[in-house]
Subunit: 473 residues, 2 copies
């Protein structure tokens, strides 16, 4: 059961009517690729967040940039919202049609347009997913490292400035998108950059669009950086006597500049859920799950150094996943932690947190928050991209018990306040969407949000691009 929107978000709910002439025009232009069937609209009116909002009035399945431009032009003419949709994996209510309008599904725009292996770049349509992309470039010896867990689309990952497990070494979408093609609010098609690795040519429209959550335009092409597949990869798990010990190990290795590719924290409780879900026999203690990339000797060097650091903090039982199959099994289990947790409490919903703090503040932020959630009695999972200072609690609430949701929201509020006091952010990688609009103001101050709003008003004066998200109009 999805919850009603909290009252402070109600002002964003202003369902705009979709005029019959607009529906007619869309049907004339797109025929069966424009659907008003309830089941299709409902599929496009939700994401992984848990609020009940009416679905969009129509869904258009775009197959080209021209399709997107044509939808946006019609929407602009009638001043109705346009909400880009990839595969629906966003977490913060980005896809909810709070003001009605048209969902533009770009999942059929899934062509890999050009692989430029010699430049370590690739250009794709926005509906290409990260797994599809890695499959497509496999034969070149290159890979795309950004991995938010879900098999999200490159368009969606760009729109939310996604990152994930490899970001500690390879950066986020912010660092890895080189250029975009975007349909603006007036239906114009622009390019935000070139394939050059660096540029000082005017305002950084690429970075402005990355993370703008569909509120400034619809992304119709994405050029990203690729990396040579490391000569050697090795993965290991290491168990720790406490979360603090695992976190202190992580802090030490980051401060020493170890170029670790992945370092993920999973608490003992979550390991138990993962074991049950993925039929694994991992030690049910706090664990770091790590991966090292490099030449055989540099991987060995990194691993030895990390083992030494872990030992100093009481880490033990370093276990190596030496074959690609074992590695895949471990990382799949890690990525399924979310579903494993949901399964651990049948019928529950997860409310995910996403704070990110400077690495030196990580222990403070995490340990106090764990004490709070333990005291609350709400079951939870805990995983973290701890090398970046980013971690996620998932509060596993019974949606039929409003009290649990309130407790979970209160816990998240306290966590965010703590992270902000420690010079961190309310969202490391999920975005603001609907749920974190108040946090954004607290985090950046009115002045910065005013600047964002001024840009939005200028670029989208009729507020048709995914309205009601990030900040109030």
């Amino acid at each position: 059961m999805n919850a009603p929107l909290p009252s402070h978000l109600l002002p964003e709910i202003k369902q705009r009517e979709l005029p019959v002439e607009l529906i007619d025009a869309l049907k004339a232009r797109f025929a069966e690729r424009c659907s008003t069937a309830l089941v299709v609209r409902e599929q496009h009116g939700r994401d992984e967040s848990s609020y009940a909002v009416p679905p969009p009035a129509a869904v258009v399945f775009a197959q080209s940039t021209q399709d997107v431009a044509d939808v946006v032009k019609l929407a602009a003419q009638y001043r109705v919202p346009v909400i880009p949709f990839g595969v629906g994996t966003s977490l913060e209510g980005h896809l909810l049609a709070v003001q009605g309008g048209i969902s533009v599904d770009v999942s059929r725009m899934n062509q890999v347009l050009s692989i430029n292996a010699e430049d370590l770049t690739v250009t794709v349509q926005p509906g290409v997913t990260r797994k599809q992309l890695n499959e497509a470039v496999k034969s070149t010896g290159l890979f795309f490292p950004i991995d938010p867990g879900a098999d999200a689309t490159l368009g969606g990952m760009s729109a939310t400035r996604a990152s994930g497990t490899n970001a500690v070494r390879y950066g986020t979408m912010r660092e890895n998108v080189l250029a975009l093609e975007v349909v603006t609010a007036s239906g114009k098609v622009i390019r935000t950059g070139t394939r050059a690795k660096k540029s000082s040519a005017g305002y950084d429209l690429t970075r402005l669009m990355v993370g703008s959550e569909g509120t400034l335009g619809v992304i119709t092409e994405v050029t990203v950086r690729l990396y040579p597949l490391p000569e050697a990869i090795s993965a290991a798990t290491c168990s720790f006597p406490s979360i603090e010990a695992a976190v202190r190990t992580t802090i030490a290795l980051i401060q020493m500049g170890v170029p670790i590719a992945r370092v993920e924290l999973i608490d003992g409780n979550t390991v138990r859920m993962v074991n049950a879900h993925s039929k694994l026999g991992l030690r049910e203690e706090t664990m770091l799950l790590m991966e090292f990339h490099g030449s055989p000797s540099s991987v060995k060097e990194q691993a030895e150094l990390v083992q030494e650091l872990a030992n100093e903090h009481g880490g033990q039982a370093f276990e190596w996943a030496s074959t690609p199959e074992e590695r895949t099994r471990l990382w799949t289990a890690r990525h399924n932690a979310y579903f494993a947790a949901l399964q651990s409490r049948p019928g529950c919903r997860a409310i995910s947190t996403d704070t990110c703090v400077p690495i030196s503040r990580l222990a403070d932020c995490l340990l106090e928050s764990i004490a709070e959630v333990d005291a609350s009695g709400i079951p939870y999972f805990l995983v973290g991209h701890v090398g970046d200072g980013n971690f996620h609690f998932g509060y596993l609430i019974d949606p039929n018990l409003p009290h649990e949701r309130e407790v979970a929201e209160a816990l998240n509020n306290k966590l965010v306040s703590r992270a902000l006091a420690l010079e961190g952010t309310c969202t490391g990688e999920h975005g603001i969407g609907l749920h974190k609009m108040d946090f954004l103001v607290t985090e950046t101050g009115d002045g910065a949000v005013d600047m964002m709003r001024t840009i939005k008003h200028a670029l989208d004066p009729d507020n048709i691009m995914n309205p009601g998200k990030i900040f109030s109009w």
Copy 2:
């Protein structure tokens, strides 16, 4: 002798009057820190570019964010331009007061505000220079890698999205600025981010400001990333039988993913100038100047791999700079190439190019352009951050011979056209300023420039922040 502005830029010249009341108000607020002396104004009315434009009407030496905010508020009240000034090393006319106004000199805002060694971050005032910064953090075992050659300020480097020799490994200001404090066009003070390593919290105002060349606000604080000083550093030079051989070696090592820290091309002619200026005995042939960072074994591994690649392309005479002193001497010589070149033709001025192309296109772009400049008879220097596909010709013209300037401009036009056709950019790191406004339109198209202009109009409706730069109003 500086040249008059080319006629297509004349529309940007609209000297606005500075009302006497404003001067009085500035003098009342800043006393002797507000100067209208011609010599001071002239110092602040030029940069390393070569156009003759009247100086600003007044210069204010700011000592705090509040000072900057007060200048901007007064300027806003009277609608006169504000031009931020650091140490005057920009190359594209960024500092020229084409519409008159007030130069805000931030060089006295030169405090390192907080070193957070355990988080690998530092926050500085905008007048701190990169050498000063590295001196200040030296004892922590960390360093700031971005190195544009000149000892520029962090404010200026942020404003132009600078990079330089280390960018091939460590990225540019785009990747290394975490957060800014900015005084907006209305005199408000905003913060664009936190110290968290990553964030998805709303529009990326940090990246919007980085590279905006003072046209959207005055940067008053900069938080950047630091890196652990590598355990081992080694530098080497290698001579090549041709520029093509050096470029092909570079392309190969980038495509293999060698994490080289610096790889600079210097052509034989420029080596000769450098030898004369810096009293060195480098082989006067095309040369790659390289630096490797890492653990001792990884540095050794990288160096061996690069030697092998160089040998395959006919590279020879690998020479190692093993002591820090030798390294410093080599890099100082490289950084002085510009002055060495100026010295090689007494009285000349250098017109610098700054194209950047995808690495696979580098040989095409460079070799054809060399043939053109050789045919023209204009003396030149050639240096390049070739690992990024970025290189600079400096056409050494006699400013008293208008014909030479015309030839140089024509050569640059051809070079830029070629770089754009090869999916590159007209400016890898210098910025657009005054000189490349037309190139920006060609490169990004009207649509993208319109979007930049719309943002500018919204954030600075009276066009007081460094007007006449990047694009026409």
